[in-house]
Amino acid sequence: MSGSLPMEDPLVRMYRELKRALAKDQSQVKWAMVIDQAKCIGCHACAVACASENRLGPGVVYRPVMEEETGTYPNVGRRFLPRPCMQCENPPCVSVCPVTATWKNAQGVTVIDYTRCIGCRYCLAACPYGARCSDFGGFYTSRTPQEPGLIQGRYAARAYEQQNAPEYAKSWGQRGKGSPVGNARKCHFCLHRLEVGQLPSCVTSCVGRATYFGDRTDPGSLVSELMGSPRAHTLKAELGTRPNVHYLA
């Protein structure tokens, strides 16, 4: 194909690879993510898409995008660092949980059982990436004015807020009435989407095409290819947590 023609959108390739991975024995699949900092434009679309996908309540965020200013005037720059859960191979958050409410699943994703978690927040303190949140309850619309007939106020918006979080492909209690309020919560690579052949929400919403996802045991996958790049590194590698989220500097 001519070099002047547009390249294949990485999303198309990742969907093809996802299909391949889902056809495999699932215990052989290991999910990984690569984030290219040079391509991230700091639009926060992934953070918002994630909050919407997982019905995250106030004060709960799975993938904040950090901003860093570099250099000194006039040679200045800005760098962005989206931070999902690193899905560590050696996760400090798992070993500290007193009630085995969190563990690594067969595909290497650290998951939480919302019906078992006692909300002690020990895992929050143990995670060296600040990747866990506690859901303290509440609604975004708590102080929204309510003026029937004039504005679509609190009750209309709350109906949306009360919808079940689809996480882990289970039906959790309505917000404010049941789980996961009071629990620890975190990014889970959108396992519920993967199950039905969809890429994680942050990947599909990434405007800069800076987030890549796939099976790292597949040598032909885009993530395997990028993880081998000399630009690839992980955060706080010195701690020995062995993250499955890699960054391209």
Binding site: S95, V96, P98, Y122
Partner: protein, 377 residues
């Protein structure tokens, strides 16, 4: 300087505390952790501070058992029942403080049904329960005046208690992401702090309940040396953190020393809880009243020490800029307790005061064979 245990003002004060506790407990049932000002970057606050404080207060039973059984301090034997009772009261207060801090306290049975042996918190729970049971059995034996059984449970309480206070420090020392909390000094410091607080509480209570004045002054000398040991360990802890030079640890130390809550460390802990008692205790050889007041200052000062240990360590972002990436009051690095949390602090303190005021009346057998009427000079 001596006061009567039935002093109505202390009882009224404790009743105000109990009303505050009722408010805090109702709030915890309605809002769970939502009634606190905690967040995801400062996940532990007043509940953990009060838990650690009262856990320390409960170590008096262990200290007296160790001193009488292992080190042969026979003249401290009259304080055994009182120390055990104080340990029980303090443990109940610590339990209430930490249980109401859980986001899902109704699932606490999972400690039993799905335990994780790799978690220091599980071991803490196990030894907390063990100390509670052993203290109860020991108190029962004291009430029955059965010396052999008292001796048996006193021996049992020593390893169980040491494991418990050790696991409290171990709980923090494994959190390598927080430079200020991690490291091997912490568990040793926690054991020493607990023995110091427990000893100080027994000393103060013994004097106010008019127990044996010789035992009070003898115990105050042990408290003095425990305080010297604790101050050395605390100095070592801070020094190692500073010398290590890790940016996050140094930032947390700066927050501890000069941040918004620095007065709790310098004013409450260092000056009121360490320096003043260190000056007073050597002069209290024949003055149990002075020793008791010095011990009371240690106890008050430890509230500052616990705050300074728990809160500043969480004032540094795990990754630079994290607190600015998604803004919400639950995603900040600053923390001030809510009304419900202050109520909890006042409440468990009130409950403890109520227990200590009513103890000699309700459980006279635990307070020895009747008060001795030596007055402080």
């Amino acid at each position: 300087m001596n006061t009567s245990v039935s002093k109505p003002s202390l009882l009224y004060l404790s009743l105000i505390g109990l009303a505050a506790l009722a408010y805090a407990v109702v709030d915890a049932f309605i809002h769970r952790a939502g009634g606190t000002n905690l967040g995801s970057y400062v996940p532990w606050g007043m509940g953990v501070v009060m838990y650690l404080l009262f856990v320390g207060f409960s170590a008096g039973g262990l200290l007296i058992s160790a001193l009488t059984q292992v080190f042969g301090f026979k003249d401290l034997k009259p304080l055994g029942g009182l120390a055990t009772y104080a340990a029980l009261v303090a443990e109940v207060c610590a339990g209430i403080a930490i249980a109401s801090d859980l986001g899902r306290f109704e699932r606490m049975f999972n400690f039993v049904f799905s335990p994780s042996l790799t978690s220091p918190m599980f071991w803490m729970f196990l030894f907390f329960t063990s100390v509670l049971i052993v203290s109860f059995l020991k108190a029962w034996a004291f009430a029955k005046m059965d010396d052999a059984v008292v001796s048996f449970w006193s021996w049992v309480s020593i390893p169980v208690g040491l494991c418990f206070y050790f696991t409290n420090g171990f709980f923090f020392s494994v959190l390598t992401g927080h430079g200020l909390w991690s490291g091997p000094v912490i568990p040793v410091m926690f054991v020493t702090a607990a023995l110091l607080c427990g000893g100080a509480l027994v000393c103060a209570l013994a004097w106010w309940s008019k127990a044996d004045r010789i035992a009070v002054t003898r115990l105050s000398r042990v408290v003095f040396w425990l305080m010297v040991l604790f101050a050395s360990l605390e100095g070592l802890w801070l020094w190692i953190g500073w010398q290590g030079g890790r940016a996050e640890t140094v930032a947390a130390l700066k927050n501890l020393a000069s941040g918004p809550g620095a007065w709790t460390f310098w004013g409450l802990h260092v000056v009121l809880g360490l320096a003043v008692p260190l000056l007073l205790l050597p002069q209290a050889k024949d003055n149990p009243g002075l020793a008791a007041w010095a011990c009371l200052l240690i106890l008050i000062g430890f509230a500052g020490a616990r705050w300074a240990f728990v809160v500043p360590a969480q004032s540094v972002a795990m990754l630079p800029g994290l607190e600015k990436a998604w803004q919400h009051p639950r995603l900040m690095l600053t923390y001030l307790p809510s009304l419900a949390e202050w109520s909890l602090a006042a409440g468990v303190s009130g409950l403890a005061l109520f227990g200590f005021v009513m103890g000699p009346k309700v459980f006279p057998s635990l307070y020895g064979s009747g008060p001795q009427t030596h007055q402080a000079s």
